[in-house]
Every structure is written in structure tokens, then in C-alpha cells.
Symmetry: none
Subunit: 414 residues, 2 copies
């Protein structure tokens, strides 16, 4: 069973409003086994709405519209639907009384313009809207189920959940649900992940999707299933194959962030971390403290942007800065060792590099970052060059540093 | 001149991703006088993409697609477009070399799978993508202009702004533009801003929109105009009225961030700033170093999450912590004074509070944050309670701290 979603409103076509309604409806329909064949957005014009309805009818057995049910002249959905279905607009007395009551409750008399909201295509089933004046409507024809919802998100969601969804289930439109498993990988570009997973067999009815993030690739194994157990059983071999091919590149699943995984590993071991940041400028500390309860394992950090700060606060030797420059593995190592000692932490991470857009040289280009991890057993360091603009370089450098620590903690667990 | 926008991706039809790209493209096209006739979203399937292209061709002279240009099997756009236009996919050598260079710069060899991204429909004009491997493409036929953009927002936006938009203007597709002026306010809730601006007269053809952000309200004055001069002339009285009503609450215009304004003021005066952060956990430093060239006026910061760090790195007296607790104006003032002295900065900002979700008490609830600004003429401090979750509290606290410094710098300029 499939559906088409039609969002109606000039403000969407002007780009003033993002179409969150369509994402909401697609997600909720998928949850009851109804896939979305296509989403459309059209303006507040009868002919545009009718054209979209005709297209929708060709594509799927169910169509859901949002918007254009208000009382004003530019609310065209009811008129357009009536003409598309060749039905009269008839006054729905209960709805009219409900709208009048809404105004009465606020001590107002209903403006004449609102009568239009109670004039619905003949034969419509009315879904009440306690949050506003525009009711939802269900119109059913041979092989075509049409639901009209208001554009105000709260009203749209209420009527969908309490009116349309129960109707779909009662009438047997609901089918198998779309379930998913997420695996998060870092340390490999999307194409390398794809190559490693090229041989993974995905049984019919399941899908394997690649979702690239900044310095991270999410793998989504999804498909329709009668229930969680049935999905888990069918998805297990795919999940195992993906885990086998990517091994340690997978750091987490089902929405956990790399910083959450690092924090969880540290907490479990009763260990702590501190950071020393130059080019990442606080992003590493910010990401670690994004995790609620970080104070249990995050002691703090120094953003040593100026060289004086590197020396005075973290004890980086003047000579090291002069001999190798602020962007060097030697300085990264000294920053990490200094932060570990100053904060009395089990581990310290350090990043120094050239985030750009300027400041690059032939031998130290924009995007080059030196990273170090200090622990009881010494200091490890590496130099990486990251692509993208200033923001991406900083994001990727922080991701790489966190992954250095996660790998180290994981090895400690073996 | 009208356009149709086709977003391609199962994620959108599953409701996993909101179609922000369509809103961005519609807004930017409107800005050059090109209206959006319809937005469509289809899945990662050749036949679905072809069907959408056929529909788009019927609707408007311009079509823009986003997504499906990646290197993996579920990236179908190039193949679908080639079959729709009846063109061969041919290897575009410069693009292939560019992709190879991207991998080489990171010391990687290009996986074979990426070759596909360099195979473009014959006759395509290639729009380079410095942020990723998927280039943008322009395909022109009699009366039909088709532009293919990647789905990753940053890459889509870059190629649109630097590749497609200039092409539209050069080829004369651009018409009467929608122009706008943005004013950024902070320190007042949206409702208070609306109240102050209730009396502002907006002439016909112009609009005044309120765009609430985290701890910030953007005012957009917009309308269609033949050129900048014509728009500026009509918008001036509205802009002046808004500035008059909001005064110092307006910190910038046309997309400048509060951290950029602060950096610009510091740079102009040859002054510097350092930060001492507890609850904001590096966000203040991160925001300041988001600004390119921050090293000219940002010296660094300490994220003193653990109390020991507050004492050892910033010299907050043990007694102050014991007497007033870590979340107190006394500690915020000591943190700011300590950071100013340690970094030798003209100013230092400090934030200590309870970001939540836990850790709140009756007298120090979640969201309570103590902020301080240290300068040559002493230390100013305040206690604020911010709403929203952990992320919002941190964001709002950093905004409030930056605004404290901006106000101080502005007073110094009077």
C-alpha cells in the first residue's frame, strides 16, 4: 500500500517554510506499513491543486494533503478537491456549530468568512480538530482514499493521529511496518565503505542505505516486517556481514554519537579525559560536554590559540614551538602531555593544525592537522589532511581525535 | 520564468530527512525572480526519477534536482537523467582527475566506485564541487534547462551559488528579484520584538517577517524589486523604523553572527579576549574560533569542568568554591578574572551554570547560568535562567556572554 503526500501553500514554494509536514506524514505512514510514493508541493491555486490530485491518483491508492483549509481567500483546497471529485460543497452543520463554539468560548462571534471551513465536499467524513477551526476530511472513492489535513503542524499531527490513523487501521489499509537498524562508521570515506560492503548480500525486502555525515558514514539496514522479532531475524545476517566487513570502523549503533561512545567507555573504566585544542578551538570540549553527565569523565580543556597560552598553560617548551612550529606533531604531543598532567586526567587529546581559509603553506597546507593522544603508556600522534572548508576541517579533526581515543580504549578492553 | 525542484532520496520518502534543500532552492531562485511551480520528492529508483523529470518538463522551463549523485549503487540520478534525455554517460576526464586529486590530498587512492561520479550525460556542463566528489551538472535542451546538484546541503549550496546561479544570470533566466534586508536582534524574546514593531508601517509590496533563532530574532524586510537601488529606497523607512524601535538590541545585519561582530569590534580596537567555561564546555571558544582570522583577537580559553581545574588553571580560590558553590556569580567573576590574567587578554568571558538535564536544585535550577565579563575596569557579572534542553541552555548562555562583551565594546565606542 502506497501514499502520495501533497503539501499546499505559496510559502512553501517561496522557501519561507520548510516542509516538515511531509517528513512527519511519511514517517508515520511508514510506521504502519504505508510507503510514500511521492511528495509534492503546490501553490494556493485551484488548478495547481487539481493537477497534483490527478498526478497523485495515478501514483498511489492513498493521497494526503496538508494546508489550504483555512478561512481566507487563498485557502483553495476544499474548492479544488470538490471540483476534482465532481462533488458539491455542502454545509456540514456539526462542523459549523463546532467552529461557532470555538469563537464563543473566547467570547467572540464567528466571522462570516469561517463558514467556508464548514462547507465540505458532499460525502466527506469529518475528522474533528480540537486545536483549530479547520477540520480534517476523508473522501473515499473506488480505489482512491483522500485525506485533507490542515497545514498547521500541531493540528495536522493531532488529526492524523486521532482521526486518520485509526481509520487506516480500522479499514485495513495498514500493513507491515518499516523497521530499521543503524550502524555508525568512521575512519573510511563513503566510497571505501561501499567497496567493503559491495559483497554483502541483502535479501529481498531489505535495503542497505549509505548516509554520509561529516567524517562519518551511517549504514541503515531497513525493510518492512510484521514485527520487531521478524525484522531482527531477517536483518541479523546483513548486520553481521556489515560488522564483519567494517570491523572496528563501526563505533556505534542506533543514533549514538562518537562522543557518547567515548564517554561510555571512559565511565565504565572509571577513567577521565582532558583536551588541548588549537585549530579545533573548543569543538572537542564542546562535543564531549554535549553528552549529559560528561562531568563524570571529562575534566576540562585548554583552548591554546595563542602560542603564549600553549607555553604558559600547558608547558609546551618554547624551543619546540620555534624548532617545529605550532602545527607539528611535536607540539601536538607536548600539548597532550601538558593537558594530561595539568588536569590530572587518565588521557588527553590534542589538536593543532590549519583550519583555513588562510594560513596554509606548501608544506603545511590548509586542512593539515596534527593530533595526539597522551596516556599512562606514552603519547601517540598522527598528521592528517582534511578536506572541506574551515568548519569541515574542524569537525573532521575533532572526529579523528575522538576516534583515536575510542580505538585505544577498545584495545584496552580486549 | 518558473522552475520545478526534484529532491531524490529514499530518506526523504521515509521521513528520515526533512527537505531543507527544496526550501533553500526555492528561496534562492525567488531571489533572482524565478518562481517555483512545484516541488517533488521521489525515491532512489530510475523509473521514479524519470517520471518526475517528465512531469517537471511539462510544468516549467527549468528543473533542479538534488541528491542521487553519490558513488554508491543507490545513487541513480545520472543514469536516470541520461535515459530521460536519451544521452550516453561519458567519462569526464577533468572531473575524474579532480576526484583522484581529492583522495590523493588525503593520501588515499580513489576507489574504483568513484569513477561513476565522473561519468556524466554527454554534453553536460560540469559545475565543480570543492566540498565533495559529486560535481553539479547543467544539461540544456530546446526550452528545457536541467541542473543536477548533490544532496549534501553544503555541497548543494556551494554549487548553486558559485556555479548555477551565475549561469542563470549570464543566460538571462533571472527576472525581477525578490530582495531582502536582514536585521539580527538578541536580548528580547520574539513576542517582545513583535510588540515593539507592531506600529511599524510596511508599504505595499514589502513584507516584514520574524525569524526566531536560539537567543536571537532575525527580522527580514523583503519584496520584489527591479534592482538593489529601487529596493533599498523603498525599504529604507522600514529598516530605519525597525532600528529605531529595537535600538541596541540589533547587533548586526545580513547574516553576520554575534561572534563575527564581537571579533570585528575587538580587531578594530586592537584588543583581545579569552574565555573560561564550565557549563558551556567549549561552545564559547568554538563560536569565537568559527570566525576566520580569530587568532588576531582570540587568545584562548580554559574549559574548567572539574573544580580542581578551576583552581589550578584559573586560580579560583578553594574558599570561593566552597562558600558559594561552583555555580555562583562569585566563581564566574573569579573565572573571568583568572582567564584574563592567565591569557594576558584585554577581556575575558566566563560562564558557569547547570546545563542539565540533571544537577538542578530548588535554589539553583537547571538552566541557571552565572556569567561574567572581566576587563581593565573590573568585572561585571549576572545570573540568568535559560529555558530549553541542555543544548539550548548552552547556546543561549554563550549568546548572552557574547552580547555582554559586544555591549561593553559598543559603549566604549560612544
Amino acid at each position: 500500500m502506497e501514499a502520495t503526500i501533497i503539501a499546499i501553500g505559496d510559502e512553501l514554494l517561496l522557501g519561507k517554510t520548510v516542509n516538515n509536514n511531509a517528513a512527519y506524514l511519511s514517517a508515520r505512514l511508514a510506521a504502519v506499513g504505508i510507503g510514500t510514493r511521492r511528495q509534492m508541493v503546490v501553490g494556493d491555486r485551484d488548478d495547481e491543486i487539481v493537477a497534483a490530485l490527478e498526478a497523485a491518483r495515478e501514483l498511489a491508492a492513498i493521497a494526503v494533503t496538508t494546508g489550504g483549509l483555512g478561512p481566507t481567500e487563498d485557502d483553495r483546497t476544499l474548492a479544488a478537491v470538490a471540483s476534482h471529485l465532481g462533488r458539491e460543497l455542502v454545509l456540514h452543520q456539526p462542523t459549523l456549530r463546532e467552529i461557532e463554539r470555538r469563537f464563543a468560548r473566547r467570547g467572540l462571534t464567528m466571522p462570516a468568512v469561517n463558514v467556508g471551513q464548514a462547507s465540505v465536499p458532499a460525502g466527506a467524513r469529518v475528522l474533528s480538530n480540537p486545536l483549530g477551526t479547520a477540520p480534517g476530511l476523508i473522501l473515499e472513492e473506488e480505489g482512491f482514499l483522500l485525506c485533507l489535513l490542515p497545514g498547521v503542524p500541531a493540528e495536522m499531527e493531532y488529526i492524523f493521529e486521532h482521526g486518520f490513523l485509526p481509520y487506516l487501521e480500522k479499514k485495513g489499509y495498514a500493513g507491515e511496518r518499516v523497521l530499521e537498524k543503524l550502524l555508525h562508521a568512521t575512519g573510511l570515506p563513503e566510497s571505501a565503505v561501499a567497496e567493503r560492503l559491495a559483497g554483502v548480500e541483502v535479501p529481498a525486502g531489505l535495503h542497505l542505505a549509505f548516509l554520509p555525515q561529516a567524517a562519518q558514514v551511517d549504514l541503515r539496514i531497513w525493510g518492512t516486517a510484521s514485527d520487531e522479532g521478524n525484522f531482527a531475524e531477517r536483518a541479523r545476517p546483513v548486520i553481521e556481514a556489515v560488522r564483519r566487513e567494517l570491523g572496528e570502523y563501526i563505533f556505534g549503533e542506533d543514533g549514538t554519537s562518537l562522543e557518547e561512545v567515548v564517554g561510555e567507555l571512559l565511565g565504565r573504566r572509571g577513567e577521565t579525559v582532558a583536551v588541548a585544542e588549537s585549530c579545533t578551538g573548543g569543538l572537542l570540549a564542546k562535543r564531549l560536554t554535549d553528552v549529559p553527565g560528561a562531568s563524570a569523565w571529562f575534566l576540562g580543556g585548554v583552548v591554546a590559540y595563542a602560542n603564549e597560552a600553549k607555553t604558559s598553560l600547558l608547558g609546551v617548551p618554547e624551543e619546540t614551538l620555534v624548532a617545529h612550529g605550532a602545527v607539528s606533531e611535536e607540539v601536538a604531543r607536548a600539548l597532550a602531555a601538558g593537558a594530561r598532567e595539568r588536569f590530572g586526567a587518565t588521557y588527553a587529546l590534542a589538536a593543532t593544525g590549519i583550519a583555513g581559509p588562510s594560513g596554509g603553506t606548501a608544506e603545511k597546507p590548509v586542512g593539515m592537522v596534527c593530533l595526539a593522544l597522551a596516556g599512562a603508556d606514552g603519547v601517540a600522534s598522527t598528521t592528517q589532511t582534511f578536506g572541506g572548508g574551515r568548519g569541515w576541517v574542524r569537525r573532521r579533526a575533532s572526529q579523528y581525535a575522538l576516534e583515536m581515543l575510542r580505538r585505544h580504549l577498545r584495545e584496552g578492553e580486549r
